[in-house]
Amino acid sequence: MENKNIIISILITAMLVGGAIFFVGRENNSDMNVNQGVLISGDNILIENGRQIIDIDVKGGYWPRKTVAKAGIPTIIRFKTSSTFDCSLSVRLPSEGIRKILPQTGSSDIDIGTSTAGQFFGTCGMGMYSFEIDFN
């Protein structure tokens, strides 16, 4: 009896969860534009008018997780979100004392000034997701 109840409640929950994700989640299946970890380090860096722009995709974490960049030039991190609802929306850059809430979909720049050589890391508000930039 006991086991039966437990199994039934797990099944009901699984059905509710699965059903809802199936029906709502497929609304816009086509615009799957988040390239998880596909970016190769270095490809996400653009140098423009003597400024270094580092692109970071934000959804369920930060991609790429590790970037190798140049030290000694003014640097901007450009965060790109696309229907991002999770923790990674709230970015923290502990070494700069910066916290920023990103829009659900869009692009936002954070100016981190002229980078000095060394490792730089950012994390989400909960500390669950993080990314690293190696300046050298």
């Binding site: 809802a20 369920g60 508000g125």
Partner: protein
């Protein structure tokens, strides 16, 4: 006055049934301050008992009453019968606990490991990428709620729910506190979400506050988790609970503790550091109206309900004492793992340490 008179008469009649004697028994299964009160009040209902004094520290219970010629062993059995539903056992000799604890862990450890591993696996699979929808309709918000309850919010809110429900389950009270928690959560999400919509940024969730809350919850969860394992006696004394003098005056035994605590915890979950909750709060903020803000947070809370309800009511099914002991140990291990994860995450987010886990 009349009441006193009646009590005195009652006591006289009790004494006249048989000689009034004092017995000291061992009691096992007590895990919190309110257990003392619970067992005392249950036993004092018995007609032959005049007074009871339970002591959690020494695991002893002192009973004064008129038991006629009944021998100690049968008294212990009869008292156990009364307290069985709360999981306490009264015996002449202290019950050897150590050996059955290790056999419990043989089962609890693998189960806890599988559950924690599947949680990490779900994160690695990129569950959040299931949410594609560009517009934030209520349907999307509901799905965000479901995904939240299966991912990062599981570690914080789910861990808290599990530790709370397992703690209440072990003190015999199952359905009511859990239900109150969920009711408190739904109502507070509706009202606070509405306030966010109406008043706007004045109520915006301060990240320092949520970080501090994250620390506090991590520590509370860790203590509750240790307590559920039941190996360390000292954790009993640091379990957060209502002071005895308050709960004693409340209607019934620690009823207050059992109904207000879960309700309050339900409300607090609004402020816990869960990324999904926070991004929903931003949406609620941007709606600019009480009703839309309230509905946004309510729909999100409803999305998290199936999984959270499953976690909290998982403790109800165990009537078999062995199974429920294993359940409590498993819950304890999972809660401790989540507590450590939450504390580490809070340290990372505040910049004290470098990231350790990366999902």
């Amino acid at each position: 006055m009349e009441d006193n008179q009646k009590i005195i008469e009652d006591n006289i009649s009790k004494i006249s049934i048989g000689m009034q004697k004092t017995f000291t028994f061992h009691i096992s299964g007590m895990h919190c301050k309110s257990c003392e009160l619970l067992s005392e009040s249950e036993l004092s209902e018995l007609p032959e008992i005049i007074s009871v004094k339970a002591n959690m520290k020494t695991s002893k219970i002192e009973v004064i009453g008129g038991f006629q010629d009944e021998n100690q062993e049968s008294i212990a059995m009869r008292l156990t019968e009364v307290l069985k539903k709360h999981g306490y056992t009264i015996s002449l000799e202290p019950i050897g606990r150590i050996e059955n604890i290790w056999s419990d862990f043989k089962i609890a450890l693998p189960i806890a490991f599988v559950i924690i591993a599947s949680f990490f696996l779900l994160q690695k699979m990129g569950l959040v990428n299931l949410i594609y929808s560009g517009s934030t309709s209520y349907g999307t918000i509901f799905v965000v709620g479901i995904v939240a309850s299966l991912s990062s919010c599981m570690a914080v809110v789910g861990g808290l729910v599990l530790s709370m429900s397992a703690t209440f389950a072990s003190s015999g009270n199952k359905m009511i506190p859990q239900t109150l928690f969920h009711v408190g959560r739904l109502i507070s999400f509706f009202i606070l979400g509405g306030l966010l919509g109406a008043i706007g940024s004045t109520l915006a969730i301060n990240s320092t506050v949520s970080l501090i809350l994250g620390f506090v919850v991590g520590i509370v969860m860790f203590i509750l988790g240790l307590n559920l394992l039941g190996i360390f006696q000292w954790t009993k004394y640091i379990t957060p609970s209502m002071p005895r003098f308050i709960s004693k005056h409340a209607i019934g035994v620690s009823k207050l503790n059992h109904s207000l605590t879960p309700l309050f915890v339900g409300i607090v979950t609004f402020f816990l550091p869960c990324g999904f909750t926070q991004s929903m709060q931003i949406i609620a903020l941007s709606t600019g109206s009480f009703f839309s803000g309230a509905l946004t947070m309510l729909v999100f809370a409803l999305g998290t309900l199936p999984v959270l309800a499953l976690i909290s009511f998982s403790s109800v099914g165990f009537k078999d004492k062995n199974k429920s002991r294993i359940f409590l140990k498993t819950a304890g291990l999972i809660v401790i793992a989540f507590a450590i994860l939450n504390l580490l995450n809070a340290l990372v987010a505040s910049g004290f340490i470098r990231p350790i886990f990366n999902f």
